[in-house]
Symmetry: C2
Subunit: 520 residues, 2 copies
């Protein structure tokens, strides 16, 4: 390489000052983040937030509420990332809701549940922070306008108690929309969509984050193998962040390149529950300025997804709050149950994969009856049926015939299961939630019967960068916080360990987003 | 941060030109790697190799053999990293040795074994490369002077066939010492110990590696929480690498900070099988110039280590080639077996942890008799006994009394086990290797009996940076190789997936070290 080659610093300086857009669009192919003296800031803010999911909006709302001038960058055309298509459940241990509905819970129990699912590698100080602050985060979401169903908290798989609130509209949009409006109304708060952060801008000594480079009028292109590397759309801007940057750019379940490096079984064309923009670009840039990679190899697959719809869809709600708690999931080849339908996600996804590796098209089937559904999901049942994800049958024989399940074996499975439920005896998989049924059938044999085919889908990337309890990003070069850099939500690692429990993502995102906004 | 603050570039330039050593010693606290035009090279080489383990020496030997001027940097005072204290076993599928001793094997079987232990997330193209080139790597080691025992290959846990060669002295030093001498003799090859690489030097456009910054007269300090961050000893030097740098800096099982981020159960004072210098510093610097982190959360713990010695010690050899294949491991609380003693490492370490979590001091005990030992380890048996790691008992009663194992239960366990061995029936854990015993006792009841207490120790960090089959490091910024950067051995990720099989590390390191030296 010749010494005469133009340095990246020079290129960037020239580009910004001289509007050399073509040269700059290749900046993300280069190695080091630019430093302050080599850039010219187009605009100045107190705080810059990357991402508009739960974590990003909570950070922005909290920072703006404190009087800061906040810029929020969103690379996609719409607000809300995965949060806006999420199921809207939030686990809050020791919540005012639990007290109201007489549910016993404790912080210790919540942490023990998370550690069990997380295979013991969770960062306990982050879980303790959630125990301390989740109710505050819930209250803050309500202040921002979120509406939560005023019913007994829901009982999700892997939790030892019912502790999950669900939004009024059973979607994360029930939080994102009001929070978005809240942020928009605060003075000095600005959201820019189709604006992609490309890199951090560092202080002249290279130690602190003082801004970001970004492209406006950027168009995400899902057809590219790697949008982060290949997409050259948009015009370069440089934004100063006087107080700092909050990275809330989410996970990478749709990053065809990076998810496959962690798990080569995740083929490029494999569906996930995520929106198409869920890529690793910003996370990888954070590693390049010294953030520690933590737990990045753990990609959670949702065991409650269906091959009969794209993306997240409605199956996760209909199975988790309809078919799993009192209903069953069976192996179509033999009509037998093969897992505790309420186990943690990893245990269940692994159990489904055992079947799918033996017979790739033999999707297991979840089965329930009207009484197995929780009240909250009644409005979605019809949507599931018209969309073709859920099927309704008058008899077990019709159901068995449709999925080519041996009917007699299936009847035997349900008979045994119902007996256990009725008698209050422990079923073969020691499913705790079955104890809720007393003296009657769990699956009502009069029918009708509801069924959904199951397939695990990449859902949440457990790992990311290391933060402390103040949401500060820790540097591998100093073992101390990187001044000016905060992060929250799925882009961070540690909270969930190897595998996350359902509805703890919303808790994690809102809590640490709020904390980032408080501390920056 | 003021714009007047001196930039890192300026600091480095000043430092090198003006000998500002104090300022430069803090360079590793800063973010970005320096670029070529901002440094003054003290010396120029064709190739710079970081690390003197199997991978580093193989790369150096191969590159030097091609006529290149090679500089090898070793941060410790001695050559060989973990390799020189390793057990000296190398798995070679389809080896000339196997053919000589009439052992059936295949590349497919080797890859299937690795994928099974690796939980299916191994990068198969790297395993295929090993299948193609492991014999070449073995031959190259012999050319360099390594001596391997000319006996039937050993059968290690998780392998479906005996395919592991062992060095004459049953230690990795049997490869490292001759390879070190081979390298020293080649013209233009220079090894510098106590010389720590601090960072890469990048080309002026930031895309290629053109050298390294390092410190000579550096003294590793095991007492520091993080030597990589805190140690300020040594004097700065800058070395040019005209052809490129081979990163062969090993794993991070002794990095108190980084290993704990991946698994918080690994307390700072926890022993490992590794030498004290096995830290993540160089790996983390590679992430900072864009290398992809792969599988870094997977830390393998050796299920064959003993709490009765520090570090690697002799227990791994005495258990793997003495007590596990035909002997047994028992839970001291009930005298029962609790695992297939020949399962893969993760399965066995997890099984030991189940016991140790229930009763932290109840170390399981491995038990065998003289006939259970392989000929190769006879010379080490006495060393194990005099060192206090292995104990010898005349009777089962004496053994049981010593470890407080219920004697009757233990006798019952051995009786059942011996019956299975004698009758050729499958034992409770389906241990394949037991089929080697025909018509007699596996554990000879006449004694004497040998026993070793077991504890898992962090042994090998599975993850690292992403390489291709040419040992080129892949950039997250381009999805293409970083020009001038190669890597091999434990610093890379992918080959072993979630968990490595025994003796495949030597294969991985020698093969990809050789390939890096061939391609650079």
């Amino acid at each position: 390489m010749s010494k005469e080659t133009m340095s990246r610093r020079d290129a960037l300086k020239l580009g910004v000052v001289g509007a050399g857009a073509a040269m700059l669009s290749a900046a993300n192919a280069m190695a080091a983040a630019p430093i302050e003296k080599d850039v010219k800031f187009d605009e100045e803010y107190d705080v810059i937030v990357i991402g508009t999911g739960f974590a990003g909006l909570a950070a922005a709302a909290k920072a703006a509420e404190r009087g800061y001038k906040v810029l929020i960058l969103e690379k996609m055309g719409r607000i809300g990332g995965n949060s806006v298509i999420n199921g809207g459940g939030m686990a809050v241990p020791n919540s005012t809701w639990q007290k109201k509905y007489g549910i016993q819970d404790s912080g210790e129990l919540f942490i023990a549940d998370c550690l069990k699912a997380g295979l013991g590698i969770n960062h306990v100080e982050l879980l303790e922070t959630i125990v301390k602050r989740a109710q505050d985060a819930l209250d803050f979401s309500i202040k921002c306008g979120a509406k939560w169903q005023d019913v007994k908290p829901a009982w999700f798989g892997g939790h030892s108690a019912p502790r999950s609130l669900v939004t009024d509209n059973m979607s994360g949009s029930g939080v994102i929309k009001p929070m978005h409006e809240f942020v928009e109304k605060l003075p000095g708060c600005k959201i820019m969509t189709r604006t992609k952060m490309d890199d951090f801008v560092m202080s002249n000594d290279g130690t602190s984050v003082v801004g970001v480079t970004a492209r406006i009028n950027y168009r995400f292109d899902a057809k590219l193998l790697s949008d982060d590397v290949e997409n050259k759309t948009g015009e370069k801007k440089v934004y100063k962040a006087k107080k700092g940057v909050v990275l809330a750019s989410g996970g990478f379940s749709m990053d065809k390149v990076y998810r496959k490096l962690q798990d080569p079984r995740l083929a490029e064309d494999m569906d996930a529950t995520n929106h198409e923009g869920a890529t690793a670009g910003a996370l990888l840039k954070a590693f390049q300025i010294g953030a520690f990679p933590v737990h990045v190899s753990w990609i959670q697959q949702g065991p409650w997804a269906s091959p009969d719809e794209r993306g997240f869809g409605v199956a996760p709600l209909l199975t988790q709050q309809g078919l799993f708690k009192l209903g069953i999931a069976v192996d179509v080849r033999n009509g037998k149950r093969f897992m505790n339908e309420m186990a943690d996600r990893k245990t269940r996804a692994d159990a489904e994969y055992v079947i799918l590796r033996e017979a790739p098209k033999a999707y297991p089937v979840a089965i329930g009856t009207y009484n197995t559904f929780e009240e909250q999901v009644y409005p979605i049942m019809e949507k599931g049926i018209t969309g073709g994800v859920m099927k309704k049958f008058d008899t077990i024989d019709a159901l068995a015939a449709n999925y080519k399940i041996p009917a007699d074996a299936l009847k035997e499975t349900i008979k045994k299961y119902n007996e256990d439920a009725k008698n209050g005896t422990e079923d073969q998989f020691k499913k705790q939630s079955l104890k809720d049924v007393k003296g009657k059938e769990a699956i009502e044999m009069k029918g009708p019967f509801y069924a959904i085919r199951l397939v695990p889908k990449p859902h949440h990337t457990m790992g990311g960068l290391q933060i402390n309890t103040k949401a500060q990003v820790i540097s591998a070069n100093t073992n101390k916080p990187i001044p000016g850099l905060y992060a929250a939500g799925e882009v961070t690692g540690g909270t969930h360990g190897a595998s996350r429990l359902g509805t703890v993502a919303v808790t994690d995102c809102l809590t640490f987003g709020m904390i980032a906004g408080e501390n920056i």
